[in-house]
């Protein structure tokens, strides 16, 4: 019902070609928990799409399905043409770095696993490190970096293979607000320059609205798509946008949808008794 209300005016994504479609996707774990049920989701070229929802709504599961870390129980994932999950980069909730390896070696890793030598990888690694503002930290090891810097390394590592889709699983959830805002800005800048597609999992209404061109709100038990919002505010979005009344209105809209999604779960839960 909400889907109808908001999906009519897509900002960026309307004309863009489809990159990946989840069709009627379901996932049931071996312990009987239905993590996802009948999820339909279209991801278009250049989208910044957020999956927003309470914990247990299957947003991380959806991301893992897209990444190929897990397979759907029912339904299917349709990739466009020659594109597949080898064109994805993944950023975890934790920085997930090799603690014994330098920043350079951590970023080199995906290329190294594809057989690219250190010398051959060096230009790409240095380039992506400069994109995340970490030039000069090549030889540092993770423990010498702050939480925000570790996350930047993690993003650089995901970007070094030049993926078409960047999958991000609550990447900034563990950071303090100031660092999170800074990383939000930097991520948007990177996204606008490189024009890759982002699927961003979060449980923060404010973060999802600030970043995304589309917000997909999910509900829990079973995990499903509850509704979708198109965030029409123009890019680049900066600190001024963060305090604007437009932003506040969009946040309220997203928040209402989220509350609605949570209530729908509570309702169904209640009905079940």
């Amino acid at each position: 019902m909400i889907q109808e209300k908001v999906a009519e005016t897509p900002a960026v994504s309307g004309e863009a070609p489809m990159l990946l479609a989840l069709r009627n996707v379901g996932k049931v774990f071996s312990n009987g928990v239905t993590a996802l049920s009948k999820v339909d989701l279209a991801i278009r070229e250049g989208d910044f799409l957020s999956l927003l929802g309470p914990s247990g709504c299957g947003k991380s599961t959806a991301l893992r399905l897209i990444a190929g870390l897990s397979t759907p129980t029912s339904g299917q994932l349709d990739w466009r043409g020659s594109i597949d999950r080898s064109n994805t980069g993944f950023v975890f909730q934790e920085p997930t770095l090799l603690p014994w390896a330098s920043v350079f070696d951590n970023v080199w890793l995906p290329l190294r696993l594809k057989g690219v030598s250190r010398a051959k990888a060096e230009p790409a690694v240095r380039e992506v490190l400069s994109r995340v503002h970490l030039t000069g930290f090549e030889n540092a090891v993770p423990r010498e970096l702050s939480g925000g810097m570790k996350m930047r390394v993690s993003i650089a590592r995901a970007m070094v293979t030049k993926p078409r889709i960047l999958l991000m699983d609550e990447p900034f959830a563990a950071l303090d607000e100031i660092t999170r805002f800074k990383l939000n800005n930097d991520l948007l800048e990177l996204w606008q320059d490189e024009r890759f597609t982002v699927v961003f999992v979060t449980h923060s209404v404010f973060e999802s609205v600030f970043l995304s061109s589309r917000v997909v709100v999910m509900a829990a038990r079973p995990g499903r798509v509850h509704g979708e919002l198109s965030i029409d505010a123009p890019y680049p979005r900066d600190e001024a946008f963060r305090t604007s009344s437009d932003y506040a209105a969009l946040c309220r809209q997203a928040s209402d949808t989220l509350v609605d999604a949570i209530n729908s779960t509570a309702g169904s839960h209640h009905d079940g008794h």
Partner: protein, 283 residues
């Protein structure tokens, strides 16, 4: 220097007390054991004198030191024999322990099937196994090596297995996402992640390989087949040559301490940049 004094002056009583405590602990860590050691040696000497204990029962520390000097030729050549067995068996324990751990890490089934055998080897006293080895193995060195190896390899095996299996789940996913082969995962992820565990096992195994070597020599030496330090001890025991007995004992202890210190240093050097265990002193 003055800067340090200034900050000390500004500290509130609680912080000052803590700083003083830390300084004392830093000094005490070295001074206390040394002081106790010196005290014990002096007491040992006094007890010998006061009670007029004969040298063949309890020699005075000075006599032991003198013996260590006079019998250096015999003792140190025996020490070399023991050391050879110790280090060779440690080397084999590393190769065998890590090799088996890597094998176990390849499949839960392999681990489940073979780990019990490793435990059986570990819990059966080596002295009880030796007569069998004595029957089956002819070569003297191989006999001793096998004994010392059985004692030393288990901590390396169990620790490295634990390490290989305790890799962060997300890191494993990351390697999977990037299409890493089994070998790449082992080489770039599991082996480095197991390093702290392996080094912990190595520290234990270092001491155990010395113990294993000496015990093996003891059992073999009882049959007059060994020339290591243990046989010197047995020999000295038969002849009631207590000073040499003590001298040999001290040599073995010092060797054990040295092995431990060297392995601790190696461990520290390898882990100092990234592992929590090596970072403690920073605070």
């Amino acid at each position: 220097m003055t800067a340090i004094d200034d900050t000390t002056l500004k500290l509130d009583p609680e912080e000052a007390r803590r700083a003083r405590q830390e300084r004392l602990e830093r000094i005490g860590k070295w001074v206390l054991p040394l002081a106790i050691m010196v005290l014990a040696i002096v007491l040992w000497d006094r007890i010998c004198v006061w009670n007029e204990i004969p040298q063949y029962i309890l020699p005075r520390p000075g006599v032991v030191l003198q013996t260590l000097h006079n019998d250096a030729g015999v003792l140190f050549s025996s020490l070399l024999v023991t050391l050879r067995i110790t280090f060779l068996s440690l080397l084999l324990a590393v190769i065998g322990g890590v090799g088996l751990a890597v094998l176990f890490a390849q499949s839960k089934w392999v681990e489940m099937s073979f780990f019990p055998f490793a435990i059986v080897l570990q819990v059966t006293p080596i002295v009880a196994i030796f007569p069998l080895i004595n029957i089956y193995v002819n070569n003297q060195t191989v006999k001793l090596l096998l004994c010392a190896w059985i004692v030393a390899f288990f901590p390396i095996l169990s620790n490295t297995t634990l390490g290989l299996n305790s890799v962060d789940r997300n890191l494993r996913d990351l390697f999977k996402l990037n299409g890493a082969t089994r070998w790449q995962q082992l080489r770039y992820l599991r082996l480095p992640a197991a390093m702290p565990y392996f080094l912990g096992g190595l520290k234990i195994a270092g001491g155990l390989s010395l113990i294993g070597a000496v015990v093996a020599e003891f059992v073999a030496g009882a049959q007059g087949q060994s020339s290591g330090l243990a046989s010197r001890i047995i020999e000295a025991g038969y002849r009631l040559n207590a000073p040499r007995l003590f001298a040999a004992l001290i040599l073995i202890s010092l060797t054990g301490i040295l092995i431990f210190l060297v392995l601790s240093l190696v461990s520290h050097l390898i882990l100092r940049r990234w592992h929590e265990s090596a970072l403690k002193q920073e605070r």
